[in-house]
């Protein structure tokens, strides 16, 4: 009998298919829920904005749906319904009106919605074209980026809310177990008090050891055999240090002492320079509205004061949304 049982098990095993690898919902290490996001658009967008949407999706990798397909007839409710079981916590919604494109950052179940007006933006391809040596290593988007917010201060509530919102879009770092090689990207948001504009930048982080001549560094990094034809001796190659690189005139501030080795070149407990190179989109945002619900609910902060009707009509003129109807309902309630 035992033999029969074994045979049966064997048959079943061969039939069972491999489950597709799913993204973890809960971080193994910290035990917290990992925030995931959807980036999509409402209404028809011109091609540059569609590119911006793709750039934002790449930015939010790995915890986002890169190939999310949305159809014209999809409502916000559809996205909500899908978001629940998949563990998606944030929505980034792009839309366009005659005035300007808007970006809405919302937290899914019933969270607050922050509406940003995009004054200016540049696409990732433009940024790459403007650089002499654009850089995109392979596993740049395998790890979530770090985020730095500056100038938001501790004062105004809507700014505080924006800080908390952005801090929670990306997963937290566990300093006990974090690996230096996973911190490869950084998102910078700077708030300018005078103009009330938020600058949005996205950089890639690179560490270079300090005090090593350029030739040696390149040699160790790339393992390319250098050309020694003109030299008498290998010592010439090694000792002809050179002027260092032009950015050796780096200030102390951008140097850190690593706690562990990183890659081939950087060694622990030696100084390395932190170099940032811009990738990804560049945006100038202005926080115009904070709503209590997901694109619905009462407006708890409005940049232009309580004159809400005009703006709302502007915004949702071209979109056929459930949210529009609910907003109108809310308007009626408010009045």
């Amino acid at each position: 009998m035992a033999r029969f049982k074994n045979k049966k098990k064997g048959i079943f095993k061969s039939v069972v298919k491999k489950k597709q690898q799913q993204q973890p919902n809960v971080d193994h290490i910290t035990g917290d829920k990992i925030p995931k996001s959807f980036v999509f658009s409402r209404g028809k967008l011109p091609p540059p904005l569609k590119q911006l949407e793709m750039d934002l999706r790449k930015l939010m990798l790995p915890y986002t749906a890169l190939k999310l397909k949305e159809k014209k007839r999809n409502n916000l409710k559809d996205f909500l319904n899908v978001a629940g079981p998949m563990g998606v916590t944030h929505f980034l919604i792009l839309s366009k009106t005659e005035a300007a494109p808007y970006l809405r950052v919302a937290r899914t179940p019933q969270g607050p919605t922050l509406t940003f007006k995009i004054h200016e933006y540049s696409l990732a391809v433009d940024v790459a074209q403007s650089q002499l040596h654009p850089r995109c290593p392979q596993d740049l988007f395998k790890n979530p980026p770090l985020i730095v917010l500056s100038g938001f201060g501790n004062g105004d509530q809507h700014l505080k809310l924006a800080t908390i919102m952005f801090q929670n879009i990306f997963p937290a770092i566990d300093i006990n177990t974090v690996n230096l090689s996973t911190c490869q990207r950084i998102v910078l948001l700077h708030y300018n008090k005078d103009t009330k504009l938020i600058d949005f930048r996205h950089y890639s982080i690179r560490l270079q050891p300090v005090g090593v001549s350029r030739r040696l560094r390149k040699f160790v990094q790339n393992h390319q055999v250098p050309d020694l034809r003109s030299l008498q001796d290998v010592s010439d190659f090694v000792t002809r240090a050179g002027y260092g690189s032009e950015s050796e005139a780096d200030d102390e501030a951008a140097m850190v002492t690593l706690t562990s080795d990183l890659g081939r070149v950087n060694r622990a407990s030696t100084k390395s320079a932190v170099k940032l190179q811009e990738i990804g989109p560049r945006m100038t945002l202005q926080l115009v509205k904070v709503e209590e619900g997901l694109c619905s609910g009462t407006v708890i902060f409005n940049e232009y004061g309580p004159v809400g009707d005009q703006k709302k009509d502007d915004k949702e003129a071209k979109n056929q949304d459930d949210s529009e109807e609910s907003e109108e309902d809310v308007e009626d309630e408010e009045d």
Partner: protein, 353 residues
């Protein structure tokens, strides 16, 4: 005789020779002791040993990291020529002094008096060296403080340095202007102003969340989930409070901001009585459904049981019946003689008449 002579010779200048001999002995022993690393020579306090067993995973990781860093730091300090290297001898002296202060008895004081006398020659040299070193260090510190007092901006620069050391682990970038401004604390006015702006901006930096590992657990133990009924009550109270004419608006605003910030942070806020009612309703329905299912299960098991019992009793009855029939058969077989077919069942005409 010889021994006596030797003794007298020794007695002639007892204190000087004795002292020098003892001095030489003690020098020899001191050099020996200095060769041994303090770790092996001095008695180890059991309390100082790290105890890893009772801790959780996160705490263990932290503690191990701390001890590793401490070991590294200690090794660096030991091999650093600029920092004071305490020889085993110095540490031993420290320990002895500690014991001294702990005991506080006359006998020990007498012993201690003897010791400093003996070691006075030794300590004379050592003390002078250490005094000089200490004096130099003191001078250096005073100069640093003096330098710091004059220009307020370098104080801020120090604060910034501290902050930066903390952030080294995270590898966050600093703006270039800020960095260059820090390195040139000149007294020219425009750069000063720029620096002030930069340092003010630096105070307002916020970063992504960092998990340290221990704190959350305690917090979670304290919070408990309120039952839904209670939450519903609270939500209703809140609504009524909002309707209150005087403070209603303020309460409403405060609550919306609070709810928005906690929702943005990931904490679930249950403040809508409608939704709470719905979920209570759902829970009730679920409960009812479960009760029904359970009853059904009980019903079916009972039914099956009853069926089986019935079938069993039927079978038993059948068996008994069959047994009886067989006996009758057997009995009747005997009467199946040719010419006679079974028992007499009465007369042929009985029924007709």
């Amino acid at each position: 005789m010889g021994r006596e002579k030797r003794n007298t010779v020794n007695d002639a200048s007892p204190t000087v020779d004795l002292k020098s001999i003892i001095h030489q002995h003690s020098l020899f022993f001191d050099t020996l002791v200095e060769l041994i690393p303090a770790k092996f020579y001095l008695p180890v306090d059991d309390d100082e040993k790290p105890w890893f067993q009772g801790l959780s995973k996160g705490e263990k990781a932290l503690a191990k990291k701390e001890s590793r860093e401490n070991i590294k730091k200690a090794r660096r300090d030991r091999l650093d020529p600029e920092k004071s290297n305490k020889t085993t001898l110095d540490l031993l002296k420290q320990n002895l002094e500690k014991e001294k202060s702990n005991k506080e008895s006359d006998d020990d004081e007498e012993e201690i008096e003897i010791k400093p006398m003996m070691m006075s020659d030794l300590e004379g040299d050592n003390r002078s060296v250490t005094y000089e070193e200490l004096r130099q260090r003191l001078h250096r510190k005073i100069e640093e403080l003096r330098g710091g007092r004059n220009s307020g901006s370098s104080e801020k620069a120090k604060k910034i340095e501290l902050k930066r050391e903390k952030r080294e682990i995270h590898l966050k970038k600093r703006k270039r202007e800020f960095g260059s401004g820090e390195k040139k604390p000149t007294t020219s006015n425009p750069s000063d102003k720029v620096e002030k702006d930069i340092t003010e901006a630096a105070k307002e930096l916020a970063f992504s969340h960092v998990k340290i590992g221990n704190e959350d657990k305690h917090g979670k133990n304290k919070k408990r989930k309120l039952s839904k009924m209670k939450e519903l009550e609270m939500a209703r109270k809140l609504e009524e409070a909002k309707k209150d004419p005087e403070k209603g608006e303020m309460i409403a605003k405060k609550h919306s901001w609070k709810a928005a910030t906690s929702r943005a942070a990931g904490i679930k806020v249950h403040d809508d009585p409608k939704l709470l009612k719905q979920s209570l309703h759902k829970e009730k329905k679920r409960h009812q459904k479960n009760v029904e299912k359970w009853n059904e299960r009980i019903g079916t098991t009972q039914k099956l049981k009853a069926d089986k019992q019935q079938k069993r009793s039927e079978n038993i009855g059948e068996r008994i019946h069959q047994k009886k029939m067989r006996k009758i058969e057997k009995r009747e077989k005997k009467l199946m003689r040719p010419g006679f077919e079974g028992r007499k069942e009465g007369f042929v005409n009985q029924n007709a008449a």
